[in-house]
Amino acid sequence: MGNKRIVWSKIWPPIAVLAGLLACWQAAVTGGVFDQWIVPSPVSIVQEAVKIWPRLMEHTAATVQLTLLGFVGGSAVGFVLAALLHLIPGVRTGVYPLLVLSQNIPIIVIGPILTMLLGYGLLPKVLLVMMVCFFPISVAMFSGLANPDAQLRNYFQMIGISKWQLFWRLELPHATVHLFSGLKIAASYSVLSAVVAEWLGTKKGLGSFMLISSKGFMPERVFAAVIIIIALSLTLFGLVNLAERLFIRWRPVKEAE
């Protein structure tokens, strides 16, 4: 009962601020501070979005597909890589430094190469998103696997736990908390990198739609696409958060907040 009131009291101030900003924006455009063809007003963006809704949704679907494929694929690769790094010491010393180094490569630079090698299909774009996503996950997972509670490890070794049991029952559950912080970072990266991947050449997706609209001097459409991209990013982040709550129920409430 009181809980709802507390939630509401947390929600309304940022909403009010946001509404105020939008009102200022609208007033600035209608009052002639900006030209309508450079910065469209919020109302005209919504009007344009409603007009081309079916097309907009087609592009959104393409971007969602690309994002999810890349996110899931990248997460899977990141997960397996972290497990291999952890379980095989040789791989750890040989691969881990390279992995960290690889993150200094701006992924966008690799985009054209992937397109060159693999064409304009879905595959090079998915690969690009995967490359961006796997890293935060494997690093977070790896550190989680490597550092479970020393007391727990000592206890279970004393009673003679096998290496596999230690991995499945102690290290992996411990790493799930870390895994989720990696997944949250990867979730926001995946939408971003999917849009960038679409800039590199395709006719479908919000990224290419933005590019075409901006070349055609249709700023309302660019803004509409941006708003949908933001919404996608927030939704994916929210879903990962929700999954975390469902998955890690054992944590004390305070710690989880």
Partner: protein
């Protein structure tokens, strides 16, 4: 059934001339200096020694986590030096998996110790009821108090099929009152379910109250200074604390420890 202990029973644990050295050359440090002790079947033995005297290292050697530089560990008449999984263990911190329920924790540890999964369920349920924690069976550990967690941890060690229980300062992290309660609780359960126990403790009273025999160690390198047979009859009660013999023995052990520490300090130029 274990109360008819006789001399011809094989020792559950036999620690034979264990030496353990860490490091090499000049930087090396000898922690265990040819240490021998034994625990008979169904006997409760305590180890007391100054802090830093290598008691935890000794447990690591018995548990197979550390290989001794020389010497042998025998359990139930078989040499197990450097092998793991032959003992049941209760550490100072409860060491319960936070993502498992209380019952789940006990069951998992028992399956690690080689108990059949089905059998663990029944046993766990029955025993949680017996120690009055059945309403916490499906709770996560963070809900329980420190004393309750240590009860679960002790139960987990007690139910394991291994013959020897190693208790590593099990009440060291508890407040004084809880500690006294836990000692009596452990005593009452153990007197009904005799197992071979090796206990590490800093508290002379705790050792006197619980044990059949007390082994006093010197500071590093640890060797056995002296062994005390604790003569008090069982079942024991808190009335023991006011027994003059109890206090006399306490004083004896205390004096011995003081000398042990001084010798340890002298021979190592005051490192401790």
């Amino acid at each position: 059934m274990m109360s008819d202990r006789t001399e011809n029973h094989p020792n559950t644990l036999q620690v034979q001339m264990i030496r353990k050295q860490f490091g090499k050359g000049l930087a090396s440090k000898e922690v265990l200096g040819g240490l021998s002790l034994s625990v008979a079947d169904g006997e409760f033995v305590s180890i007391i020694g100054p802090s830093g005297s290598g008691k935890s290292t000794l447990f690591q050697v018995i548990g197979g986590l550390e290989k001794p530089s020389s010497g042998e560990i025998w359990l139930d008449g078989k040499e197990t030096t450097g092998e793991r999984g032959h003992i049941s263990y209760m550490p100072q911190q409860p060491a319960l998996l936070p993502w498992q329920t209380v019952a789940g924790n006990i069951e998992f540890s028992l399956t690690v110790s080689g108990v059949d999964r089905k059998a663990t369920k029944l046993k766990t349920k029955e025993w949680l009821e017996r120690i009055g924690l059945d309403e916490y069976a499906d709770a996560y550990p963070h809900v329980l108090s420190g004393g309750m967690l240590q009860r679960v941890s002790f139960l987990r060690a007690l139910l394991a099929p291994q013959h020897l229980m190693l208790l590593d300062e099990p009440f060291g992290a508890l407040d004084a009152l809880t500690r006294l309660q836990m000692q009596q609780w452990l005593m009452s359960i153990w007197e009904e379910n005799r197992r071979s126990v090796l206990l590490i403790t800093h508290s002379i009273e705790e050792a006197l109250f619980l044990s059949d025999r007390i082994v006093v160690l010197s500071a590093s390198p640890a060797v056995v200074l002296k062994e005390f047979i604790v003569p008090f009859v069982r079942p024991r009660s808190e009335a023991l604390w006011t027994d003059p013999r109890f206090n006399e023995m306490k004083q004896q052990i205390y004096e011995l420890l003081k000398v042990g520490v001084r010798e340890g300090v002298c021979s190592h130029g005051g490192i401790n």
